[in-house]
Symmetry: C2
Subunit: 240 residues, 2 copies
DNA sequence: CCAAAAGTGTTCGTTCTACACCCATGT
DNA sequence: ACATGGGTGTAGAACGAACACTTTTGG
């Protein structure tokens, strides 16, 4: 049973941010033959690969992410399935896959996952991994640019709708940190007074009797997120 | 290339409603050997099956739906991937699949689609298909009950968020019809005066200079849905 | 004392809710 | 005449947007 399935792969789009900019985690693809030829940049791709036959898709995604980047314990969410018939059409792409897997490849359907790491610590990643700014991503193989586009869309939906925002914050967080996260993912400025008022009315954001320490400004109150309250809240209708 | 892929299947959850009740389209599963034994009911399942290697998943889902039920031109939306390792564990299920496909089956990952047909016309369906009330669905094979549960969840999200509601109505519809649809899918009553006011403020619901004919009550004004206006609208944030 | 973020209130316009009755049509 | 859904208005509460200044801490 424990063979690679030549028809199923996973790809992970892991987002990270360092204060101001949204980035995506890419890995270098190594070609046996010639390396990258006409390019100064290394040949980058999303971390992804084939699934074992006795392996759940999310386990495969986590395993492959760890193998290629060193990152562990990233919560991955399945958000799409890539099944177009021409996604393996570039000769170099297919060649690369056949070389690295030793399998004959005809059709591969890929299950796409996204994940977010709160703070980018480059040192946690293996050599050959790169955090690339969204605005500087180009020339990716397969349909990886399309996957990233869809991942950003899906993650924006999921952040507002499914409470994923709170998974990105520490257990205890400040209102400012929450607002900052929103700014980064949605590219939007909001008035901090109104934002505070709004948050304080949400009963799934619970104030703690605790403040920040050792910060170079007035220490802020800490809050925590209550999943149960949130899931009630988010089940209400939106438009009608 | 045009072989069945033994690792990939699709399943469709097609919802329909007749005025008051939400129903799901199921098909009879025929066993070569003994038919259904200890059961008075026919052995029902979701319409689904294996994908050809040169076939897009949504095309496979449509093809299989048509083959098994006769229904055509149902808009199908991919909403989940079923990959658990034990979904083929019931002996009868695997036996049935191997019999009907002639393939040796180990692992099958299934891509799940939902669809909705506005009005149930039983006569459009082949013999052996059944519209079953949500409340009366039981004893389905594989993980089909789980799929239906997730489909209902996904479709509720999608109806409010992605404008799928309007796909269910005729090109021209009345406010009452829209409200009725919401009542059926969400099991919720809303005040019709307030509902009207709300709808009239939505600029993607466009009033026509036209009324119903031949109805046994005051004929209602007709409206149409504008996709472009809607997509602008639905891109705005919801919680924050 | 400077830099950085925390924290606070009011006004005004908009939107939401609750609520009850008459109207146009087909049978 | 009756059944069926169509269609209307108002008052009060809740909410959202715009707006500027003082506070607390570490360096």
């Amino acid at each position: 049973m424990a063979n690679l399935n030549p028809h199923l792969s996973t790809d992970c789009v892991v987002f990270g941010y360092d204060d101001k900019e949204l980035k995506v985690l890419l890995v270098e693809r190594e070609m046996n033959k010639r390396g990258s030829v006409s390019n100064f940049q290394p040949d980058l791709k999303l971390p992804g690969g084939l699934v074992f036959n006795d392996e759940l898709l999310k386990d495969a995604a986590s395993r492959i992410l760890k193998e290629l980047t060193g990152l562990e314990k990233v919560k991955l969410v399945q958000f799409d399935v890539l099944d177009s018939l021409d996604r393996m059409d570039k000769a170099t792409d297919r060649e690369w896959l056949e070389q690295t897997t030793g399998l004959r490849i005809d059709r591969v359907v890929s299950i796409a996952f996204f994940g977010i790491v709160g703070v980018i610590r480059e040192k946690n990643c293996k050599a050959g991994t790169h955090w690339v700014k969204m605005s500087e991503i180009k020339n990716l193989p397969f349909d990886h640019e399309e996957i990233i586009k869809r991942a950003l869309f899906a993650i924006r939906q999921s952040l507002k709708r499914d409470g994923l925002l709170f998974e990105l914050l520490d257990e205890k967080f400040t209102i400012h940190q929450l607002q900052n996260l929103i700014r980064i993912f949605y590219d939007e400025e909001t008035d901090s007074r109104n934002f505070r008022k709004k948050i304080k009315k949400l009963d799934f954001v619970i104030p703690l009797d605790e403040k920040q320490h050792n910060v170079a400004h007035k220490p802020a109150q800490l809050f925590r997120f209550d999943r149960k309250q949130f899931s009630q809240f988010s089940n209400t209708r939106i438009i009608f």
